[in-house]
Symmetry: C2
Subunit: 238 residues, 2 copies
Amino acid sequence: MGKLYVIGIGPGGLEHMSIRAKEAIEESDIVVGYTRYIEFVKPLLEGKRVFSTGMMGEEDRCKEALKLCKEGTVSVISTGDSGIYGMAGLILELRDDEEVEVIPGITASSAAGSIVGAPLMHDSCNISLSDLMTPYELIKKRVQLAAEGDFVISLYNPRSKGRADYLRENLAVIRKYRNGDTPVALVKNALRDGQEVTIATLDTFDCTKADMLSIVIIGNSQSYIKDGYFVTPRGYKL
Amino acid sequence: MGKLYVIGIGPGGLEHMSIRAKEAIEESDIVVGYTRYIEFVKPLLEGKRVFSTGMMGEEDRCKEALKLCKEGTVSVISTGDSGIYGMAGLILELRDDEEVEVIPGITASSAAGSIVGAPLMHDSCNISLSDLMTPYELIKKRVQLAAEGDFVISLYNPRSKGRADYLRENLAVIRKYRNGDTPVALVKNALRDGQEVTIATLDTFDCTKADMLSIVIIGNSQSYIKDGYFVTPRGYKL
């Protein structure tokens, strides 16, 4: 039986993948992933079998990967970190006796943060606004508690056609606890082709720009913009 | 004037560094970092000038790096992600007109999570228990709100000699909101030499094992242990 790697490839551009992740893909006989993300690692796929499915096909992909590793070494890829809204959880939930190794990657909030400056320098949280598998009331409760705790907040899956208003509603919740001039960054396609960056404030942010390929980062009460960089101070007395 | 890279080298083992981070260090004339972390990238340092200081020397290192980039290309390195409790914030706070590029890395909670399974699969937060620059009351408030919101919680800097009781006190706060059988993982030296892993529960966890080189991850109400893996389900109906 082959080994099953669950790999976070990072933001998408090959150069932000870890050396270990690249080597594990190279070592694999079979690569499994969402069709769109398979494209990101195309230069590594020569001579390999590929199993890909569309969005929402996560469970099928995982089951297939667990079957395929009886035939050779398999890499299941996620963008970002495989353990943060990626495929690692589902693989381990479905795993029977297969040998699994999780290889971490740079998660989307780290990638987006690096592009706009250093917004995540203090206590922070990741919240997904997707309500496919989480009740919307719980999502809103988490946003409210994170706002109350003055966490820097990274919103994953901030907006889709089916829930066009969630982002606006949740920013309004945060606005109750933060000033209107709190920095808000939107990064679409962080560190890969098609990257777009917007830095605004809670009062000026245009929610309609966000989509499922975006990350939205909201600063804490100390965050500020300096020369175009979004900075959250760690607390040094300078 | 040279360029200034602020680089997250990931957990420490060279193979978990991004390809971009490695190339930026190779391209640099001068490398600046905490003495202990400079050791992690030693194979990349041949022929380069190195400026390192001990712990607490962050401000000196940043000021020196900003000076040195007038003489050549400089890399300032942090472990993990440079933008998460790393050097990116301080560099941008102190920056005048130097050209700065932040290069992200795999943060410690991602690294630790990958080792124990997939604990970070749902909404999560990073909280540092260090009160050097954050009032302890604010830290405890954040832990309490994160517990109330059923976030997976990653504790950075969980324990030092000067604050031996903080970890125990904060786990007791979390215990008010979670069952005693909630999984708790301690990973010391994640993905580098000296790695040690303990998986326990809120009721059985031994706080005295934690130190400044450790990350402690506390599951949410749905997290469980399966075949030795710490899994937080994403919510798929399997």
